[in-house]
Amino acid sequence: MALMNIFEGLASLFFVLLFAPLFAGLVNKQKAMMTGRVGAPVWQPYYDLFKLFRKETIRAKSASFISGLSPAINFAAVIIAASMLPVCNAHPLISFKGDIILFAYILGTARFFQILAAMDIGSSFEGMGASREASFAIFVEPIFFFTLGSIAFITGFTSISDIYRSIAMDRMSYTVFIVVCSISFFILAVTECSRMPVDDPNTHLELTMIHEVMILDNSGQDLFFYQYSGNIKLLIYIVLETAFYYPLGAGLTAVGVTIFALNILFVSFVLAGVETVTSRFKLKDMPHYLLFAAAIGILNLLIFTFNK
């Protein structure tokens, strides 16, 4: 049994590692199609990553060891986070009581080093990005706890996979609760993964970038790790988002896997759709947007708690 669990976990991890760039490509492709372009092939992220891996690394003169350390730590953190994912309701590699906290915090570690690495250059562009990242990040963990954490507090389960397993859409109020949670979580995912309307991944103006500007001076393997971690992170959040709907039938059976895949596709579609129809918010308004997400979570929770 334990061996089986480990196997499932490893498989999930590999799934995430393997398909992360594909998912990013998928979203981009859909986005392009929605805006009436042909767009790059869905495999494009793989090509990019492969190319980056083989490129010469150029670093700023003012960079220090942080610049070298940060991509590796980022990547490691993302991998640890990925191994806690209940992909398709499978048993994750890492699952223990309280791993929800570890999940939130290990991404914090990644963020910590990424911000540092951005500031490492001493350029004001990176500083801008880092500052924005830091200020949005303070809302990320609270929202995370308002969504996924609220379920944990209600059900008493503290492991991500257990939390998702406990979700059952048998009662109306609970279903509504879960749906609103998932919406809130979607906003979180958008923020965390620097997608529209928080951040425009395709912008070309340094002054308006957030995530992109932080890695402005990275190239070669450093950039490879950043990009790859970014892709993985996106998939992680998407999997967590879809996991709210596992009760619809996702599981380690043929049907279950199909449902899971459809789920993922659907979310990618929504993501692309949102990115197409919205424009980026003003940076000043961003905290309000995030607070809005938090407020949804709180309201939802209040309604749920007192509606018994």
């Binding site: 690394t57 700023a60 910590f112 490492d120 500083g127 706890f145 954490g149």
Partner: protein, 658 residues
């Protein structure tokens, strides 16, 4: 076979002997060396015994008294031993650091003997405070700790800010001692004994228990720096010499926590509302502590506010424990108190690391304003690495020790929600969100200071940066402790569990039941992956080429130090959210027109309690008091008239007296 007590007393004697060195030896350097060697030897002696006692608990012999103090005046229960161990663990690196720190002053030609004497006195008195069992003697050593810290603090007394800051500390101590008087008097009256271990409150007297709890909270809370009593920390810490401020922040404010634990032992179970009070106050303390920190530019002031934050986190754990005790819920108490206790150790370790680091920076650059720093990483990479370790730890992010204690506190939230049901899940969720928010702000804050101080290039004039071997040793030991507790928490958890079972006698295995092996494995895995990736990319760089160039700046290629992002700008967006409570205000001038004049931006934060309540309140009070005039305070006729008046007044009183 000698007992723990003997070891302790021997160590105290050795440490006390170290004070003799500066008194009897003329040369500053020789005196300093000898004194520090003796001090460290004494501390290590003590540490070995307390370490063994904490980590390998066994029955202790009752042992002997000390210096005329009878044996029952000392108390070596797990709580005392734990705090003793924490104190000594931090004191050793601080003492090592103190040596090179004093060297620096000796180099400047200052007399440092007094500083050493007060430093050593502070260490000794602190160790006594946590082991003393007699209320009056406790007060004596409590005050001795405070006073020696105060006297050390005024080392650079000619500076105005030193005078002000130390005075805050001075007054705060006086208030605390007044409150403690009353606290102990009442307990003494209740039991007729002065021994802390004998103190009891008659069960059922809830009014008295509440009163005592409030007194303890006010007194110990003020020492610890809970809001709104935190105002003295950001005033007092920046101005003290780094050895003092490291110890002050790492240990002395924990004496407040120690006192709260003792108070709880005496008064338990806590009333429910006390638990909630502690929890809410701690939450506010934690959030605003870190937020205020974010708005600071003075490195030591910033760290002082972080101490406030961490005291808040410790308080959150205690609050959960108190609530647990009100419900007689064992798991909550164990997790809450356990988290708080472990965080006491953790905070002591990383906060002293950071304060000592700030001392090194201050000595080298001669400023505490982080806006003037930058680029230190290119001069002292390893030093930055050590400081960074402390920063990661204090943010509570994996894989270092800060995470472990916060993890326990999060677990206590979950436990509370699970065990108590009702509206608790909601409340605990809010608490968890608050704690997460604190974590996010801490990340922002520490990325800010690390980035601004160390990375990029030096702002202002360039100075050589020298870190002595002693600095490396002391910082290294502390950083290592951060890593060890983070990666291998089990022995520490065992120790804490042992202490907690002293506070919660019913006992329980909640702390041990957390799967700590997972943490160890995951952290190892995490570091392994990170290292592997680091080396892979290194190898790839060799393979595919590597070069350095100027940073990208939209084609502009004369990026100067002044163009770097500043701390004010970095934190502006976050501070802007809470402008009112932070007293956050900025002055900015944007250049406009074709030939813009020079533009600038600065931001300041004014502590709400300090600047809105204490300073104006005190001023108002003074003017009010100055307005009171006894007529004719200078005229002899009035003097005589007072005699007549008082005779008449007293006669009237006497006439009306029944």
């Amino acid at each position: 076979m000698f007992s723990l007590r003997d070891m302790f007393f021997i160590s105290m004697l050795i440490q006390a002997a170290s004070i003799l060195a500066p008194v009897f030896i003329g040369g500053q350097r020789r005196a300093s060396a000898l004194a520090h060697i003796t001090l460290v030897a004494g501390l290590i002696t003590g540490f070995i015994s307390s370490f063994l006692a904490v980590f390998f608990p066994m029955a202790h012999t009752v042992g002997t008294g000390f210096f005329g103090l009878p044996p029952e005046y000392f108390r070596f229960d797990p709580l005392a031993l734990y705090f003793l161990c924490v104190v000594q663990a931090v004191a050793i690196p601080t003492a090592v650091f103190s040596y090179s720190y004093l060297e620096h002053y000796i180099g400047e030609g200052r007399s440092v003997k007094s500083l050493y004497v007060f430093f050593a006195g502070m260490l000794i008195a602190t160790q006594m405070v946590v082991t003393i069992n007699h209320a009056i003697v406790f007060l004596v050593f409590w005050e001795a700790t405070s006073m020696s810290a105060y006297l050390g603090m005024i080392f650079e007394k000619e500076k105005k800010e030193v005078q002000k800051g130390s005075f805050y500390y001075f007054v705060m101590n006086h208030v605390v001692i007044f409150l403690l008087y009353i606290f102990f008097f009442i307990l003494h009256r209740q039991t007729g004994s002065w021994l802390l271990s004998d103190f009891r409150v008659v069960t059922g007297n809830s009014g008295l228990t509440a009163l005592l709890f409030l007194l303890a909270l006010a007194a110990f809370g003020m020492k610890a720096g809970f809001m709104p009593f935190h105002f003295w920390l950001p005033r007092a810490h920046p101005i003290a010499p780094s050895t003092i401020s490291a110890f002050l922040s790492g240990i002395i404010i924990k004496l407040g926590i120690y006192g709260l634990f003792r108070a709880f032992q005496i008064l338990s179970p806590a009333p429910l509302w006390i638990g909630w009070l502690v929890l809410v106050v701690s939450m506010i303390t934690a959030i605003f502590g870190v937020w205020y920190a974010l708005a600071q530019h003075d490195i030591k002031k910033l760290l002082a506010y972080h101490s406030v934050e961490n005291i808040g986190i410790i308080g959150i754990g205690m609050g959960i424990g108190f609530i647990g005790s009100a419900y007689a819920n064992i798991p909550m108490q164990i997790l809450g108190f356990g988290g708080a206790l472990l965080h006491v150790l953790n905070h002591a370790v990383f906060k002293s690391l950071l304060f000592l680091g700030s001392g090194v920076i201050n000595n080298n650059l001669g400023t505490r304003n982080i806006e003037l720093m930058g680029g230190i990483v290119h001069k002292a990479g390893f030093f930055v690495f050590l400081f960074l370790t402390g920063s990661v730890a204090i943010c509570g992010i994996p894989p270092l020790n800060g995470f472990v204690s916060e993890f326990i506190i999060f677990n206590s939230f979950f436990t509370a929600a699970r065990e108590l049901k009702e509206y608790y899940p909601l409340m605990m969720l809010v608490s968890a969100v608050g704690l997460a928010f604190v974590g996010g702000l801490a990340v922002a804050c520490f990325t800010k200071i690390n980035a601004i101080m160390f990375l990029g290039t030096q702002r202002g004039e360039t100075k050589p940066f020298h870190v002595s071997a002693y600095d490396y040793i002391s910082l290294g030991v502390l950083a290592l402790l951060c890593v060890v507790i983070g990666f291998c928490p089990v022995p520490f958890i065992n120790a804490v569990n042992n202490v907690v079972s002293g506070i919660v006698p019913q006992g329980g295995a909640e702390l041990l039941n957390i799967n700590w092996l997972y943490i160890t494995v995951i952290f190892t895995l995490f570091s392994a992956v990170a290292l592997a990736m680091y080396f892979i990319s290194k190898a790839m760089r060799k393979k595919f080429g590597f070069r350095e160039s100027d940073a990208w700046c939209c084609g502009y290629n004369r990026l100067g130090p002044r163009m770097q992002y500043t701390a004010s700008s970095f934190a502006d967006q976050i501070n802007d959210i809470a402008r009112a409570p932070l007293g956050y205000h900025k002055k900015g001038r944007a250049g406009e027109g074709i030939f813009p004049p020079s533009s600038g931006f600065e931001s300041h934060s004014a502590d709400l309690v300090d600047n809105r309540i204490i300073v104006p309140g005190y001023k108002k009070f003074i003017s009010l008091m100055s307005a009171i005039r006894l007529p004719g305070n200078t005229d002899i006729r009035y003097y005589v008239a007072y005699i007549l008046i008082m005779i008449i007044v007293y006669s009237v009183v006497g006439f009306l007296w029944h």
